[in-house]
């Protein structure tokens, strides 16, 4: 190719690129964002300031995919033309169905996330929020109340309002607001109670994400008040053994018959505190005596179980003292320490078996623990005896060494006295 021909072709290619630019550019432009960003009214400009982490922006879903219109046109009358599908901002009550256009469409959702459920709307409709929404109440939560309207972050993003440890705060935005909740006649202290509870402390203070938040008991999209009679089924999701024991105990049919909540009856709901042994038995803080009178069989069982647990605790304390003493003396009591730890495990197990409300079942576990503490105490005693034996043996050895040395010294003196030094 000569120089002239090269220049000719070069200009031609440049011209094609230059003149085709607006058409090319129109495909990638989003005039919704361009215009809204430039608006002075913050309410109108805010939705255009998307976070880079927004789940929709990340997969290329823009304003028009939800709100309709023509994002390629600079002309407002065209870009926001209802004829071009522009729907504008949905009212609060419309939002669930607005989001569900995609989120309930399993074919559509499979394109982006095949594992994502598509039953949110159907669940929402049966939720307390959904029911009130259907009645035209604009106050109950809709999708955007929890997920936000724009800048929607993935549920596993710690900044998301629906991230596991943020859920209690998100729910509390409405449910802890006395003024907002006034007309519904439900308490607003759940969040304060939850924060104090063993679950709240674990999740919010210790950062244990396996600890339950509001949604674990009440559901999320289908949020509602669990029926008291089924509370045990919720708790059993984590506390399987205790609930299994409860289910087989005489308490289960009694609770069912009398309509008393299962776990909640003793442990409460939002303010579930770490259980203590004082809850058991017939003492001042005991829960058993709230239902069982002093002449009842339940009262006697509670007292017997409480006594056996206390006996094991005393035994463990004594075994610990013995092993600590042996350790302080520098003796090796690893086996005894192991047995004390195992006895502690028995105590934990016995505490769980309280939910069987059977003195025989708790008693047999307590006996296992007691035999372990007995073994530990014997081992610790043996170690302490061994220590004393060592000290006595040492004293005897030193005495023998001293006597032998003294005899040697006298013999040397005698030798040197008799023969004299040269």
């Amino acid at each position: 190719m000569d120089k002239k021909s090269f220049l000719k072709h070069g200009f031609l290619i440049s011209g094609i690129i230059f003149f085709s630019y607006p058409a090319f550019s129109a495909e990638t432009r989003d005039t919704c964002i361009e215009c809204h960003k430039a608006l002075d009214d913050k309410e109108l400009s805010a939705p255009a300031n998307f976070s880079q982490d927004d789940v929709h922006i990340k997969i290329g879903i823009s304003c028009a995919d939800c709100h309709g219109g023509d994002p390629a046109s600079d002309d407002v009358s065209v870009s926001m033309d209802p004829a071009k599908g522009f729907t504008g901002k949905p009212s609060k009550t419309e939002i669930p169905k607005f989001c569900a256009r995609c989120h309930s469409n399993s074919d559509y959702m499979k394109r982006y996330n095949p594992n994502m459920p598509t039953d949110q709307l159907s669940k929402y409709e049966v939720s307390q929020h959904g029911k009130l929404n259907a009645q035209g109440d604009k106050k109950p939560a809709v999708c955007t109340s929890c997920h936000s309207a724009h800048n929607i972050l993935a549920v596993d993003n710690p900044a998301s309002p629906v991230y596991v440890s943020n859920v209690p705060n998100t729910c509390a935005k409405c449910h802890a607001d006395k003024e907002y909740m006034k007309e519904y006649g439900i308490p607003t202290n759940q969040f304060d109670d939850y924060k104090e509870s063993v679950h709240g402390q674990a999740l919010l203070v210790k950062g244990d994400r396996s600890s339950p938040s509001c949604k674990n008991c009440h559901g999320n999209h289908d949020a509602g008040l669990p029926r008291a009679i089924y509370v045990g089924n919720i708790c059993s999701q984590c506390h399987a053994l205790t609930y299994d024991l409860f289910s087989k105990s005489p308490h289960k049919p009694a609770h069912d018959r009398m309509g008393i909540p299962e776990c909640e009856a003793c442990h409460g709901n939002h303010r579930i505190m770490k259980p203590s042994d004082d809850m058991l038995g017939t003492g001042r803080d005991a829960i058993c005596v709230k239902c069982h009178s002093s002449s009842s069989k339940g009262f006697k069982t509670a007292l017997a179980i409480k006594n056996s647990i206390e006996e094991l605790k005393t035994d463990i304390t004594q075994a610990k003292e013995s092993t600590s003493k042996a350790e302080r003396l520098g003796m090796e009591v690893e086996d005894a320490v192991f047995d004390v730890n195992e006895a502690n495990n028995s105590l934990t197990k016995a505490r769980a078996y309280i939910h069987s409300f059977s003195r025989e079942q708790v008693g047999s576990i307590v006996e296992e623990g007691k035999s372990l503490t007995k073994k530990a105490k014997e081992l610790a005693k043996k170690a302490i005896d061994n220590f004393n034996f060592r000290r006595k043996g040492y004293s005897l050895a030193i005495l023998l060494i001293f006597i032998f040395s003294l005899a040697l010294y006298l013999r040397i003196k005698m030798l040197e006295k008799n023969k004299g030094e040269k």
Partner: protein, 371 residues
Amino acid sequence: MFQRRVNMNVSKIKDSLIKWVKESYHIEPFEDIVTKKQVPLHKYSVWYYFGGITLFLFITQIITGILLLFYYKSTEGAAFESVKFIMTKVEFGWLIRSLHAWSANLMILTVFIHLFSTFFLRAYRPPRELTWVTGVFLFALALGTGFTGYLLPWNELSFFATKVGTQIAGSVPYIGGFLRTILRGGEEVSDATLGRFFAFHVIVLPLCIFAALGLHLAFVQLQGMSEPLSVKDNKEKKSIPFFPNFLLRDILAWMLALGVLASLAVYLPAELGKKIDPFAPTPAGIKPEWYFLWMFQALKLIPSKIFIFDGEVVGILGFGVMGLILLILPFIDFPSRKGKRNLFLTSLGVFMLIFIIVMTVWGLIDKGGHG
């Protein structure tokens, strides 16, 4: 009457036994050495006993070591557990291991004292050069036995101290890499290291010690004890017979050592430590055994570069040269060879002694460990 008859019979049996031994084995030369040998008595005589105490502690090492061998297993998976078994399950196992560990430490201490006292009293003067040379070999062998034995419980402290120790050995110019590989039995401290340290600790080094000790004791018996220069020319010289006077005094010193050893073993029994995790990073504050600490601390103080040379290499070479000088000292200490005092060497010895003590104490209180 009956008693007299018994005594006569015992005496007869004794005489016939001695006669039988003399006729069969011709022990007269040894008998002469033992019965006619005299040990000088002067103000420095106390230092003579440290050789005997060292021998006593070595014998303790051998006996307790054999007993430990009944249970010890020298593999990576079983070493720590076997020591734990000895300490907790075997009757008097704790005592045997504590006696072994403490007698090792005390033996190295008495070796140091014996070496320095011999040095300051110039006991290596002719004709006792080879007694000194075998003694220096014994000193090195004792340190080697301590180093190899330290790893055998296979606990965290011993593992990382060996790692650091063999790493320092690897800095020796030219042969360092080879030396490290030989010591470790590979690139890292592993099962192979434990195996060869065990073999060195229970077979190789004890055999070498027996050989060197045999020569050392033979030289001492043949040549007798050296008299320090300061008392050599005293007009009123005193001495006592080796047998039984000095031997009884020696046994008295052994009893004192036994008392100290038993007290340490009972009141400060050897610890088991923490089982090692070879993949864990070196814990802070890892230090070698106290007898290597002065060298370790001195190496830490040497700048990383001395002119164009690597500081650690210069330090290691320095210690090597010091060891060599120590070995050939009787041949190069010309004033002492001529029976004259060598004030320079005494000053150097005092400086070294202070240096070793200061560095050791500094190393013990320094929390930095291996940096």
